[in-house]
């Protein structure tokens, strides 16, 4: 039995309605308890800001395309390298760090749970191997279904039960957490080098539209009672004028779940462009947020870009190819049979580019114009918008108009007239930030019941103590202190153990992987469906019996069972 | 005669690859393939031995006639025989010149060495027990 007492913590715990109370947190055997014995080890948080461990609801850190990003970028590996030291392995990489690099740097920032943004089912084993090598964060895998042949057939047949059964089988087989759709239908078109330009366009051969895929999957998601909602990377990412696609997509979303959103729209900055060309592109953040503000069934994340060189990597193969044609940087592509695609290419976001400046402004506008911080979460689509180590700077910008003004003064001259950022006065407060970086994610991902995202009795003791005294720092003026404060915790506690202290990892990790087993009724199960089996026999290149991820790949798997179809 | 060296895998080499002490492996790895016209010019029959020399070394192989091989090319299965005459210079790439080298090919009466003998020539001690 191990006990720990965190004393004098200035706790902000939005899920439990606590906002800046000084309290002690008692921990026993990895969970928060009422009290501990005198023998408990104790830490004095010295009235510092103490939050539940950070949760990243959309980050690309593990799997085939992330590793592609690494090995094609030795120049980045060199840029971000650190030495072996104490319990810390060597790390490499700045915008696509190695797995240990990701884990240590996230831990230094107080993050204890990560959702991998995209996992192709066929290659899930690779994702899980890298999960185990990201030892200080509990991991969850967004599982890609956007170009899934079995799903598209079910959508065409208007058979929601079947779509749900396919998802259920697949999540169980690959130990996935939720449904991810990236450019739905578009990734299949990219199998032929094509793309879709609207949500009512038909996917070649399969004759379904993105709108149909999205609505069917939303229904299937709720039928399966999955803890997370459908997680969507909208069609037409990155194209001037695409905001209409985004609004049209939002119009499709019913309100089906009382506990959380029915659609999680990710990195919406990339989907909020007006105009029609690169020359007249402008921000449509106002229109987007007007829609989201009136739809509690939608939660989005920012997709903030920052000015730096970084790596884009998504399942959106055609988009990445277009980016390659624009920038001429080295380009990798990896389409996955019967399932999805991916593309990887480095980019540089520069203040000299009017387009990049507008993109930067849009991300911040989305956050500032969304009334409830629960509906717009802080993300950069790591590393697509910026490496996650830049989150503290994003926090600083959201909390300080002065910081934003100083940045705006250095932007391209066109930014002001094509965005409204400079006119926005709102400054997020500590509570808003706590929502946008952990509480909101916990709610959106459906892991509050797993004890994540809050510090109530019974919660997992994932805690971040930041070197910030909220009573003596004015975030609106002293944004530098805010940025520095969020870069490195005093203590990051994971399941009751101090894993990081002032940025140094001091123990080896033992993370858990959360996955979902939605219990589908016997007569609907895919293992009994001859057509489903036939696809494996004839069109996949891996046998059905070799496809599922064996238990050995999840040394500490946490299975969440749901009573689907009830 | 000067030839351009080409090396590669073959099925017989692959089937014997984990039995490098065997006669089967020795037979496939020490075989080289020449165009029939080149063999005529060298004055050798199918199965005759040839001595291959490069700046890096010298090795004796058994010549087999193969029409698919172009005039002026010599194909040798990948393995210790081919490597006996390949230099370890990689031009900064890590990859030696396994293909495209110009080498000398001449008929010879010297015997074909076994893999064990090749290894002993470079300082090893063969392990024969199985």
């Amino acid at each position: 039995m191990t006990e720990l007492l965190v004393k004098n913590a200035c706790v902000i715990d939005p899920i439990r309605g606590i906002n800046g109370e000084i309290m002690d947190i008692a921990i026993r055997d990895g969970r928060i308890v009422e009290s501990v014995s005198d023998r408990a080890e104790s830490i004095d948080a010295q009235r510092c800001l103490t939050l539940p461990g950070g949760i990243d609801s959309h980050t690309h850190v593990c799997g085939t395309k992330v590793n592609f990003g690494r090995y094609m970028s030795p120049e980045d590996m060199r840029a971000g390298r650190t030495q072996r030291r104490g319990r810390m392995h060597v790390t490499s990489g700045y915008y696509v760090p190695t797995t240990f690099g990701n884990s240590y740097r996230y831990s230094a920032m107080g993050y204890t749970t990560l959702l991998e943004g995209a996992m192709a089912p066929l290659e899930a084993r690779h994702t899980h191997e890298e999960f185990t090598a990201t030892p200080h964060q509990d991991m969850l895998a967004n599982t890609l279904f956007d170009g899934n042949w079995a799903v598209m057939d079910a959508v065409r047949e208007k058979n929601i039960n079947k779509a749900a059964a396919i998802v259920g089988w697949t999540l169980n087989a690959v130990k996935g957490y939720g449904i991810k759709l990236t450019n739905p239908g578009g990734t299949e078109a990219w199998g032929w080098g094509e793309d879709l330009t609207g949500i009512h366009e038909h996917v070649p051969h399969f004759e379904v539209t993105p709108a149909e895929i999205i609505t069917t999957m939303i229904q299937a998601n709720e039928l399966l009672k999955l803890p997370h909602s459908v997680h969507l990377h909208c069609n037409n990412l990155g194209k001037p004028g695409n905001y209409q696609t985004t609004l049209d997509t939002f119009e499709l979303v019913p309100d089906l779940n009382p506990d959380r959103q029915t659609l999680y729209a990710t990195h919406v900055q990339f989907h909020a462009y007006g105009g029609g060309t690169w020359r007249n592109i402008c921000s449509k953040a106002e229109e987007i947020t007007r829609s989201v503000n009136s739809k509690p069934q939608i939660v989005m994340d920012m997709g903030q870009i920052m000015f730096c060189r970084t790596m884009t990597m998504t399942a959106d193969g055609p988009m990445e190819f277009n980016l390659h044609c624009l920038h001429h940087n080295k380009w990798s592509n990896h389409d996955v049979e019967l399932e999805t695609g991916s593309g990887i290419i480095p980019v540089t976001y520069s203040k000299k580019s009017a387009v990049n400046c507008i993109m930067w402004a849009i991300g911040l506008e989305l956050a500032l114009l969304t009334k409830s911080p629960w509906q717009c979460l802080l993300e950069t689509d790591n590393p697509n918008g910026a490496p996650f180590v830049k989150y503290p700077e994003v926090i600083g910008l959201l909390m300080s108009k002065r910081y934003r003004d100083e940045e705006c003064a250095t932007l391209h001259a066109d930014t002001e007239k094509r965005t409204s950022l400079c006119a926005l006065e709102r400054e997020m407060d500590w509570h808003d930030i706590a929502v946008m970086t952990r509480a909101g994610q916990a709610k959106a991902l459906g892991i509050i019941s797993q004890g994540k995202g809050h510090l109530g009795i019974g919660a997992e003791a994932d805690i971040a103590v930041y070197p910030i005294r909220t009573d003596s720092v004015d975030p609106a003026r002293e944004y530098r202190k805010v940025v520095e404060g969020f870069q490195k915790t005093r203590y990051t506690i994971k399941r009751g153990r101090v894993v990081s202290r002032d940025g140094e990892i001091i123990v080896d990790g033992a993370n858990a992987t959360f996955w979902v087993n939605a219990k589908v009724p016997e007569d609907l199960r895919m293992e009994n469906d001859p057509e489903f089996i036939k696809r494996f026999e004839q069109f996949y290149t891996v046998r059905m019996s070799n496809y599922p991820v064996q238990d050995v790949y999840l040394p500490r798997g946490r299975c969440i069972e749901t009573e689907a179809f009830t | 005669m000067k030839c351009i060296l080409n090396t590669g895998r073959t099925v017989p080499q692959g089937t014997a690859v984990e039995h490098k002490g065997s006669d089967a492996y020795r037979a496939v790895a020490s075989a080289c393939f020449l165009n029939p016209v080149d063999m005529l010019i060298l004055g050798i029959e199918n199965g005759a031995r040839v001595g291959i020399t490069s700046p890096a070394g010298h090795v004796v192989l058994t010549a087999i006639s193969a029409e698919g091989v172009t005039r002026g090319e010599i194909f040798v299965t990948i393995g210790p025989y081919a490597n006996h005459i390949i230099s370890s210079e990689t031009h900064g790439t890590g990859m030696p010149d396994f293909k495209n080298q110009s080498i000398k090919v001449e008929p010879t009466e010297e015997p074909v060495m076994s893999v064990g003998e090749l290894m002993e020539e470079i300082g090893g001690l063969r392990y024969d027990r199985q």
Partner: protein
């Protein structure tokens, strides 16, 4: 007893549809595999016990002794080299990297003399590729360039390309066009629809010529390029631009010929160019069953896919400097651990010779050429036969190798962990 859906660990195809007839600790029959698979599973002779070289011959030693002495050799070395890794599973590869990091060694894998140049090219221009099932289901044009699948990847054509029935290509033999580009008319060329007979060393020029044609600049070409007529080049380029889905598979013909990674780069850039006209992909034909796995494991752990040098306490990568052949040629390493590979047979003689001059330990199920150059050889399981573990297919798809029989050997991951423990004073990686 029949074991089905067995994964063959031999080559990069990682065929996973084999059926084995197993009796006790013997594999009696292999169904669905090629002759390389049959040899792998049925003619699997092992070194019975660890051996150590003496002044006069070889002596048997115990596993404990062998492990202890190996740890001592590595600990005493100033610049140890840990090489190979391509035929074992990811679990062992991970421990290898941990050992290298712990003792500041150089760790390299067989890509270094195989598709290392392909990796260098990818690091310059990227890799537009896909999984093999995409090719099987869609490709109507297949190009084999500088490789010979009939001999090196015997079931590649029947499982993934020429003869494989695909969803959109149901009449594979009629609907697919196969082009072979090579310096000699090999067996694959004999069954191709078109053979492009190229002079040795001509790859770069021919690729450039094709790119020029695809860009509409055929007028600048001479009558022949590397022995190939302009007419044939124009025809080939036309087949490519008119394809619905084209796939280029390439091998050592590109990586080992003059130009090496520049050849591969040019092929990738041709693929890139073709993507502006239609859908095209390019893939390296990886040789060993799990060489891609060693690239993947090395990369997520260290940042680099091969030739990783930990001597500075960081991960450092510089092919030409930190690659195994160069380190051996410069006689820079003073101890070597060779795992699941055979540099004695596959390295140029000078590099292999150095292994005999330093204390070299081999961990491999089979006696191989490197055994003769080593000081200690420790036999272990063979991944995919008597040890289960992860392997990565040539297209990056990870498959779990099965343990089909038990032969009483320790898993090489276990041996390596014990070595690690001895080097680390008792605690695991």
């Amino acid at each position: 007893m029949i074991v089905s859906d067995v994964v063959c660990p031999f080559c990069g195809c990682l065929c996973d549809d084999l059926e084995l007839d197993v009796e006790g600790d013997r594999i009696m029959h292999v169904q669905n595999g090629c002759s390389l698979a049959e040899s792998t599973f049925m003619h699997d002779t092992r070194l019975p016990a660890p051996i150590r070289r003496t002044t006069t011959g070889w002596e048997n030693i115990s596993y404990d002794e062998a492990i202890k002495e190996t740890a001592d050799i590595l600990k005493d070395a100033d610049r140890p080299l840990l090489y190979g890794w391509s035929s074992t599973h990811g679990e062992a590869q991970s421990v290898g990297v941990h050992i290298a990091e712990l003792i500041g060694a150089v760790i390299d894998n067989t890509s270094t003399v195989c598709h290392g140049p392909s990796i260098l090219a990818i690091q310059e221009v990227g890799h537009p590729g896909c999984t093999l099932g995409q090719v099987k289901n869609r490709a109507d044009v297949i190009i084999y360039w500088g490789c010979n699948p009939i001999e090196a990847h015997p079931r590649h054509m029947s499982r993934y390309t020429t003869f494989a029935t695909g969803f959109f290509v149901p009449d594979a033999q009629r609907e697919r066009m196969v082009i072979v580009v090579d310096t000699r008319r090999n067996d694959t060329a004999n069954i191709a629809d078109e053979f492009v007979h190229m002079e040795p060393g001509g790859d770069y020029a021919v690729l450039s010529a094709l790119r020029a044609i695809v860009r509409g600049k055929e007028s600048i070409l001479p009558k022949k390029v590397a022995g190939i007529s302009k007419e044939q080049l124009i025809r080939i380029a036309g087949i490519c631009t008119n394809a619905k889905f084209g796939a280029i598979f390439f091998g050592l013909g590109l990586t080992m010929s003059r130009g090496k990674y520049k050849n591969v780069r040019n092929a990738i850039e041709l693929t890139d160019e073709l993507n502006r006209h239609t859908k095209f992909v390019i893939s390296p034909m990886r040789g060993h069953g799990n060489v891609y796995g060693s690239n993947e494991v090395f990369t997520w752990m260290t940042g680099y896919p091969f030739a990783v040098d930990f001597a500075r306490g960081i991960a450092f990568y510089n092919p030409g400097e930190t690659t195994a052949v160069d380190i051996l040629r410069r006689e820079e390493c003073d101890a070597a651990l060779i795992v699941a590979s055979d540099p004695g047979a596959n390295f140029p003689r000078d590099a292999a010779a150095h292994l005999a001059k330093i204390p070299t330990v081999v961990i491999d199920p089979h006696v191989n050429a490197t055994t003769a150059l080593s000081h200690i050889h420790i036999p272990c399981t063979a991944a995919g036969i008597d040890a289960a573990g992860t392997a990565y297919r040539m297209d990056g798809v990870p498959i779990r190798l099965k343990k089909v029989i038990e032969r009483g050997y320790p898993d090489d991951a276990e041996i390596l962990k014990k070595i690690y423990d001895r080097l680390n004073g008792g605690t695991g990686p």
